[in-house]
């Protein structure tokens, strides 16, 4: 059995990798992938908590989160398509509309 601490540590590392990816990459699809990595890092934390406490709640949460993440990716990709229609690009460096 893998100790819960290892799982939590892996989650933290994955989270940082995802975060760095969000900050450094311009392509919106890559950023979305990085966000998914961070989400899964959190899921790993749930699993670690469930292992540690011997409780199934964490597993249930993880299952729900994965389902929601799938839906979220679908929405995100649709937004990117719409953005591409507007801006002819999905590079985050070109999209600064939030300022207005």
């Amino acid at each position: 059995m893998i100790p819960a601490e290892y799982l939590a540590g892996l989650g933290a590392i994955l989270f940082c990798i995802g975060l760095v990816g969000v900050f450094t990459r311009a392509n919106a699809i890559i950023v979305l992938m990085c966000v998914e990595i961070m989400l899964n890092a959190v899921n790993l934390n749930f699993v670690a908590g469930a292992l540690h406490h011997g409780d199934v709640t964490g597993w249930v949460f993880t299952a729900i989160a994965i389902a929601i993440a799938a839906a979220e990716v679908a929405v995100g990709l649709a937004i990117f398509l719409a953005l591409y229609g507007e801006h002819e690009s999905i590079s985050l460096d070109d999209i600064t509309n939030l300022k207005h």
Partner: protein
């Protein structure tokens, strides 16, 4: 305006019904059964009704300004105003009737407390630094105070407000220059009435001050009614600022009084039997002096008199009401209210050693009386003559009050009461006569204006014709018979023609001042006594001069030859007040008005003793043949110089018969031939002398004040302006510049890029986590 025969008639019935309203209540039996709704309890309506009408007229006038019904039926608000003032007048009369029939009981005055306006606790710091409640539930109340003094002034104010409003319906509404703004006049007029009636009825110095300031505001607004004329705007500002100087002192005086007595209610201050026992006489003297300076400002006495002549820039009804008959009496009322502080006689509980203040009051009065009469000698503007005359007559009353206060303070009760009563009686006579004189002068000015419009090209207002200049008048006695008669009666009352109006009171003041000097040892009173005796003769001169220049001789301009009395609404008040000026003084002195005003002895009690005819003879004998030889001498000197010397000299200069074929009203027709009997004197040399020039320029007071202001106030104002521009505005600008630049920096954070926002969210989350870590561990 519909030129029917008498357009007043159709309005008479509703106004008359309003006047009768309270009497219906009285004779309806409620009064007899002791109804809970009595005159005293409804007295608060007297100032409240005009106060409520003020916004109604102002708003309706603003909205329906151009409508025909507003102009015809409502007279641009004048109808609403006169109805409200009719109710106020009838309630005042009802209050007077109740006062006479029921008396005041054991109290000094009828009192009615309405409600507490504000109540508060006073915190104080004890020696060891803790805060505790020093006094609990201090209440500033609102109430009504009625005694002979306030009742007399209440009647004067309510009656003249009503009559002058009546006059205004004729004077203001037919003048094309007032087109579309008379609602402003009537709104301010009723607000002023509310101020005056409220001040008279107030039961504390606090409310007296509040209403006093309302009157000051209305005076300012109404003087500046023709605000497009620079002279009117300047006069309004001057009046406001000059009275403000007095008001600041008044406020200081009231604060000292509050400090001394812990309250400003008359009931607390006057009702306290130890009024003088525990109070610091030195501080009280300062308080009295400060109150007096406030009165000096309001009543236009030397040295704060400069505003009153300029105040004649306002419409004539305003001059009649505010600057002759009511507001300028507020100062006198305040000084009259000071009696209990001075009264050290058996009944009173005043403080000894206030005689100095009384002497200052009498001196101020004497100096103003003489100075104003001198300046009135050379004025050519009919309203300016009356303005200086007002100043001079008010100064008489101040002198009388000063003498009365001195006598009260030196334990001469009887003489003090007579002097006080005579002063207040003069206030009554003067208000009636001067209100009427101003309305008569308004009638003259109005008809001169009409004649000018009629004779010269319509719409040609460019020539510098002055309808108020007496040098353009002359010979009007036949053209304006009612006005000329009214003005002759009013002038006679002001001069003090024996048996008419002002004679009774003015002789009383002169005699009491001299007897205080000669019999009671007030040696300081000699100077004012001499001055007011001299002024009696000068009054005879300037009033006669004014009448002769206006009404006698041949017309001095083509406009005067074409004037005629046509405007409705103007005659009724003139006739009514003429009757009062002619008979009121005699009747009231028969009834013992002096004693009633002086010590609250019931009115008419003298009649009961020894039959009416004997009383008449007694009164006349008392006035003309006083037992004391010295007073006899003074009385006849005053009569001689005011009635013979002064008018005769004026007639020598300005008298003259009317043009051939013209005839005056029978009551005054004999004056005109008489005026030519004394020969002619040539005064060209005198009129061109330096003295006349100095008087023309009002003895240089305006120049001196301008120079004093230029030397003191303006440099200070410059320093303050610099401080305001550089320091205060600088600080504001610094804050503005600082926040501008900070926000410029902050704005750069808003890039619009999602990643930057995520970065901020992360940094924020980490910071919060770090903080929670610190707290948790």
């Amino acid at each position: 305006m519909g030129e029917s025969k008498n357009p007043e008639m159709k309005f008479l019935i509703p106004i008359g019904l309003l006047l009768l309203f309270p009497f219906m209540r009285i004779y309806g039996g409620e009064f007899a059964r002791g109804s809970p709704f009595d005159a005293l309890e409804s007295a608060f309506l007297i100032p409240l009704i005009p106060l409520l009408i003020f916004p109604i007229i102002a708003i309706l006038g603003q909205v329906y300004n151009k409508e025909d019904w507003w102009k015809e039926r409502f007279k641009e608000g004048g109808m609403i105003a006169i109805c409200g003032l009719a109710i106020a007048l009838s309630l005042s009369v009802w209050l007077a009737i109740q006062f006479f029939t029921q008396g005041t009981g054991d109290e000094d005055a009828l009192r009615w407390n309405l409600f507490n306006w504000i109540s508060f606790d006073v915190l104080g710091q004890t020696a060891d630094g803790t805060w505790v409640t020093m006094e609990q539930d201090i209440a500033l109340g609102v109430g009504i105070w009625v005694d002979p003094l306030s009742l007399m002034l209440l009647f004067v104010a309510a009656f003249l407000c009503f009559l002058i409003c009546w006059f205004s319906l004729g004077y203001m509404n037919t003048d094309p220059i007032n087109e579309d703004r008379n609602h402003r006049f009537y709104a301010e007029f009723v607000l002023f009435s509310a101020g005056m009636l409220g001040m008279v009825l107030a039961d504390s110095f606090l409310w007296l001050f509040v209403f006093w300031e309302i009157m000051g505001l209305c005076s300012y607004l109404l003087i500046g009614f023709y605000y497009e004329r620079p002279s009117a705007a300047y006069a309004a500002k001057k009046a406001f600022l000059t009275t403000r100087v007095g008001d600041v002192f008044l406020l200081i005086g009231l604060l000292i009084l509050y400090d001394l007595y812990g309250s400003l209610d008359y009931a607390v201050i006057f009702g306290d039997p130890s009024i003088g026992g525990t109070v610091d006489a030195g501080m009280l003297k300062w308080a009295m002096l400060m109150l007096f300076i406030g009165a000096v400002g309001k009543s236009a006495q030397f040295p704060l008199h400069v505003w009153l002549p300029d105040a004649m820039e306002g419409p004539t009804p305003v001059s009649a009401l505010i600057h002759a008959a009511t507001m300028v009496n507020a100062g006198l009322y305040l000084v009259a209210r000071m009696v209990p502080f001075f009264d050290v006689t058996a009944h009173g509980s005043g403080v000894e050693g206030l005689g100095d203040v009384a002497i200052i009051i009498a001196w101020t009065g004497g100096i103003t009386a003489c100075m104003a009469a001198m300046i009135a000698f050379v004025q050519n503007d009919i309203k300016k003559v009356l303005a200086y005359s007002t100043m001079s007559q008010l100064a008489y009353i101040f002198t009388g009050l000063g003498v009365s206060l001195w006598l009260f303070n030196n334990d001469h009760h009887h003489a003090a009461v007579i002097a006080f009563g005579a002063s207040m009686f003069h206030l009554f006579n003067h208000a009636m006569a001067k209100g009427m004189l101003f309305m008569a002068s308004g009638s003259v000015i109005h008809e001169m204006h009409h004649a000018h419009d009629h004779v010269s090209d319509p719409g040609d207002h460019d020539d510098d014709f002055d309808a108020q200049d007496m040098r353009n008048m002359g010979g009007l006695a036949s053209k304006l018979p009612v006005t000329a008669t009214a003005m002759a009666i009013g002038s006679a009352s002001i001069i003090g023609l024996p048996l008419i109006g002002g004679f009774w009171s003015k002789e009383g003041i002169i005699a009491e001042t001299w007897s205080a000097t000669a019999l009671y040892g007030a040696s300081w009173m000699l100077f004012p006594a001499f001055l007011i005796l001299l002024t009696a003769g000068m009054t005879g001169f300037y009033m006669t001069r004014m009448w002769m220049m206006t009404f006698a001789g041949k017309p001095k301009s083509v406009f005067a030859a074409h004037a005629h009395e046509a405007t409705p609404w103007i005659r009724t008040p003139l006739v009514l007040l003429s009757v009062i000026a002619l008979l009121g003084g005699f009747l009231l002195s028969l009834l013992g008005a002096v004693h009633w005003l002086g010590e609250g002895e019931s009115l008419g009690s003298a009649l009961g003793h020894d039959g009416t005819l004997m009383t008449v003879l007694e009164t006349i004998k008392h006035a003309f043949l006083p037992a004391d030889t010295f007073l006899l001498l003074i009385t006849w000197t005053a009569v001689a110089i005011s009635l013979v010397l002064g008018p005769m000299m004026a007639m020598r200069i300005h008298g003259g018969r009317l043009a051939k074929g013209e005839s005056a009203h029978v009551g005054i027709a004999w004056l005109l031939p008489l005026s030519t009997r004394f020969g002619k004197s040539d005064v060209t040399a005198l009129a061109n002398s330096g003295v006349a020039d100095a008087l023309q320029r009002r003895l240089f007071f305006d120049e001196w004040y301008d120079a004093a202001v230029a030397a003191t106030v303006i440099p200070l104002a410059n320093v303050l302006a610099w401080f305001d521009n550089r320091i205060i505005d600088g600080a504001i600008r610094g804050i503005e510049w600082g926040s501008q630049s900070i926000s410029g920096e902050v704005r750069k954070l808003t890039t619009g890029s999602a990643r930057d926002y995520i970065l901020m969210a992360v940094v924020g989350t980490l910071s919060i986590a770090a903080l929670m870590w610190r707290v948790a561990v």
